[in-house]
């Protein structure tokens, strides 16, 4: 059960702080849980855990491909690995190792990619993952999650410990918009209806959830009733709720901090076109590479704000 606390404000704690605390609890509570990192511990709030838990926490250094293979091996001998690096490297730099040594070999590994999309800010194009959702979705039987805020991170990350197969999670290590109360709980594969509506449905993930709620408030004043769904599990998609809202609103907008090629919008559009055809307008990065800048500037450059969501909603409604 979740409680919405959204009022447009930022979270009090950065994602990295919460990740550090949560990872520590996970390894404390289960001796089989292990955590691997690729020289990004100081950036994700975990530096020092390798000294406190030398049998469970391994600083691998800068060798992502090897690290993914090692995680596969750890799973094969009964450990429960969590692996973290920047999302760009988690996805692109070690894709074949993830595909073969983890997913295809049916090992059970959780991979956490930090700095999704424009949140990688000053690290620029080489570090800016717009494609990680697409790549991880393309791995058979994978689970793909984007933590909406750090309340979700704290609640959901420990529960993934015994999830079979490959689970990929996108994580913002800075302060995002606060969406959920700290005592909220979440179920992978089950989307959250944050706001009901009858004219259009906005399906969002990650930082676009806050933007969608903002857009829905503005649209309401203009006489358009928009439902907002937090599709934090991008795969497997919660088809039931999409079907329900297709029958109810007959128009969709999707919003993601990622390339629209192969992302959340692509998943929603594919499902709808094969079940309940209706207009779907995708808000997201339009097949571009990243660059440096403040997240706010980049969100504007790539069209990731409530403004684009509002325009998309009007277009979707007009196409009904």
């Amino acid at each position: 059960m979740f409680k919405l606390i959204y009022n447009g404000e930022k979270e009090k704690k950065a994602g990295k702080k919460v990740f550090g605390e949560t990872m520590q609890k996970i390894v404390e509570q289960d001796p089989l849980a292990v955590y691997l990192d690729g020289d990004i511990m100081n950036s994700i709030g975990t530096l020092g855990l390798e000294k406190k838990f030398p049998d469970q926490v391994f600083e691998c250094g800068i060798q992502e491909a090897d690290m993914m293979g090692i995680a596969g091996g750890l799973s094969a001998v009964g450990k429960k690995p969590y692996v973290h690096t920047f999302a760009a490297f988690a996805a692109r730099r070690a894709f074949d190792q993830v595909f073969i040594s983890i997913a295809y070999a049916k090992n059970n590994v959780r991979i956490i990619g930090s700095d999704p999309g424009v949140t990688s800010a000053y690290n620029g194009g080489t570090h800016m993952p717009f494609e990680d959702i697409c790549l991880y979705r393309a791995i058979p039987h994978s689970t793909v999650i984007e933590f909406t805020d750090s309340a979700m991170l704290a609640s959901l990350l420990p529960t993934l410990k015994d999830r079979p197969g490959l689970t990929y999670c996108r994580l913002n290590r800075k302060e995002g918009t606060a969406i959920y109360s700290e005592d909220s709980t979440f179920e992978p594969g089950k989307a959250n209806l944050l706001r009901d509506g009858k004219d259009v449905t906005i399906v969002a993930c990650g930082m676009m959830v806050g933007e969608s709620l903002k857009a829905a408030e503005i649209l309401e004043k203009e006489g358009i009733s928009a439902a907002v769904i937090d599709m934090f599990t991008i795969k497997p998609l919660d088809e039931e709720i999409i079907k329900e809202f297709a029958d109810k609103t007959h128009a969709f907008v999707t919003a993601e901090n990622a390339n629209i090629v192969g992302g959340l919008g692509a998943a929603v559009a594919a499902f709808l076109s094969e079940s309940t055809p209706c207009p779907v307008i995708r808000v997201g990065v339009k097949d571009e590479f990243g660059q440096v800048g403040t997240p706010e500037y980049l969100a504007e450059v790539y069209g990731l704000t409530s403004k684009e969501i509002i325009e998309a909603v009007k277009k979707a409604v007009s196409m009904k």
Binding site: D37, D39, I40, M41, N42, S43, L47, E59, C60, G61, I62, Q63, A65, D66, A88, F89, R92, R93, Y122, N123, G124, G125, T126, H127, Q291, V292, G293, T294, Y297
Partner: protein, 275 residues
Amino acid sequence: MITPLKEFATDIRIQEMIEFKARGFGHTGGSLSVADCLAALYGGIMRIDPKNPQWEDRDRLVMSKGHAGPALYATLALKGYFPLEELKTLNQNGTKLPSHCDRNLTVGVDMTTGSLGQGASTACGMALGLKHSGKDARVYLILGDGECQEGQVWEMALFAAHHKLNNLIAFIDYNKRQLDGYVKDICDLGDLVAKFKSFNWYTTMIKGDDPDLIRQTVLDVQKNQGDRPGMIVLDTIKGAGVPQIENIPLNHHTNVTPEEADEIIAQLEEFKRKG
């Protein structure tokens, strides 16, 4: 009195600090430790023409530890590739000077880097291509020591030796630190010189804080490498030349206030005057 090359290295550090001051933060440690190497290369070793940055017969540099972009940008601006004033746009919205080197944005940058390990292979590819087109241009490659944990570096090392790429000279900025701390605590590299020797590279290790020594060593390697690629391990300090930054234990990426930057710049100017 300091030598012209040492003065160039100090100017590079000063311009780096101007870049960091304008943005307020950056990859200071690893950008400072390569200043002497860049001074040696761009201060006479490399065959370049800043007025003709795309000259086909030029020597190339690949800054594989791409986060040291600010050091390369300072060097290029000082050589006249673009105005010094532009350095203040480091990492500003819409800049041509991003954290990591980008050949499509910055005049004079020969290869896009930032995903560690990859510059090793692109440098190798450039050397292979130049050699097989009968060109005598050379390729210089700068690797981080932490970066050498990437398997890709060692794949390249095998390939370059096998293909006798004697137009390739690589450096390792052996500053002993990476992002999370000391390389030896994280994933020890052991004896880098012995390793590269065993990969059949002409290898040597020198103090990395003296651009005149680096220059002489490059010339020696060129003379002696025969049909092997050359490797110069540079024994450096992360943050070199700026004690305030050397002394920060985790100095991979640091904040720089305008006051700190001004104090450091004054210190470096003083060093230029007095040595």
